[in-house]
Symmetry: C2
Subunit: 199 residues, 2 copies
């Protein structure tokens, strides 16, 4: 059945070309100017073809959201593996989170920009749970090591993530989406304070 295979392959290639065309546009012109019509133009097919592969524009954004969460989870896991103690792990994970958000700021904007569709998917999909699980488990280990089991680990996780997100967002807001030298100093200062509060 080589024919069916060829068709399937073609369909997957088309789907893939939609995503890469969309991603190229986002990288060069931002989420704002991403449009179905421009994608259709780029892949040299007519507009409705895109709706054979994605239900609507939001579904395309959702696809990139998932990619973003997976990539972030991957980066966090890689960072954690480079250290032994939970406290050190939390620090390098914070660095990895920071680096991810600026090296892939388009992902970050889509994943965490307020008022975008990603808000509604946050508690529905597995990708984000995997990411938060990495943080949560490391926090748990840190609390065990520091002989502080009565602390609410979920509260501490919430604080940890909030500090990371806040630092990145404020940096993006008042420095035009570019990290500066001082930014990472603030991150390390905040992390030092947070780790103290775990003991």
């Amino acid at each position: 059945m080589g024919i069916a295979e060829r068709k399937t392959r073609h369909k997957e290639e088309l789907r893939s070309s939609i995503l890469t065309a969309a991603w190229d546009m986002v990288l060069s012109e931002g989420w704002q100017s991403l449009s179905i019509r421009k994608i259709a133009d780029a892949i040299e097919y007519s507009i409705p073809v895109i709706y054979n592969h994605f239900e609507n524009k939001e579904a395309i954004l959702l696809e990139f959201s998932k990619e973003g969460y997976q990539l972030l989870a991957c980066k966090l896991e890689q960072a954690r593996a480079t250290m032994q103690t939970p406290e050190e792990q939390l620090k390098v994970m914070a660095d990895a989170y920071w680096d991810f958000s600026f090296e892939h700021k388009e992902y970050y904007q889509l994943m965490f920009g307020l008022g975008i569709p990603a808000c509604e998917m946050v508690n529905q999909h597995e990708e984000i749970k995997k990411m938060t699980h990495i943080m949560i488990s490391t926090i748990q280990q840190a609390l065990q090591v520091s002989a502080n089991p009565e602390a609410d680990f979920f509260l501490k996780f919430h604080t940890y993530w909030s500090i990371l997100h806040g630092l990145v967002s404020i940096q993006m807001i008042d420095n035009g989406q570019q990290p500066d030298r001082k930014g990472k100093l603030v991150l390390q200062d905040a992390m030092a304070g947070f780790c103290k509060s775990l003991v």
Copy 2:
């Protein structure tokens, strides 16, 4: 010259009705569905009338942004006035920041949502500087009181604001823009940790 006055008054009423119509729409349907055409329909004038009062749609959003920053600055100042020591002030200001963001979540989304025009205005206008000045000056006083003058007050301010913004944003992201009981506990926990780091 009562005629000129009447005209001016009419013009101001029109401008004001544009803003209130827009605000009503935002409250009931969100920023996403705010449109010039619907505003024109609501005030029962034709579309170009709106362009006599605002250069474009972004100018209307900018107007609301300014309002938001002013209101937030006002709330922070009121909160600060209720306490004597800088440390207590930082805590009640944090509460006020939290309350503002959920009591006026439409303002907060406009002011701090990533990828919206407010990004570009952040360093240009005075409203936001007034707001940050309140935070900065209180941080400075806190560092003086704690006899810790060698600390970088701007770094500490950056950390303070980041924690607040991060807590609010994460709460909005994973709890559908509604505060819960636990949220404020996390805030107080994080603030306790931050204040420790000032000493």
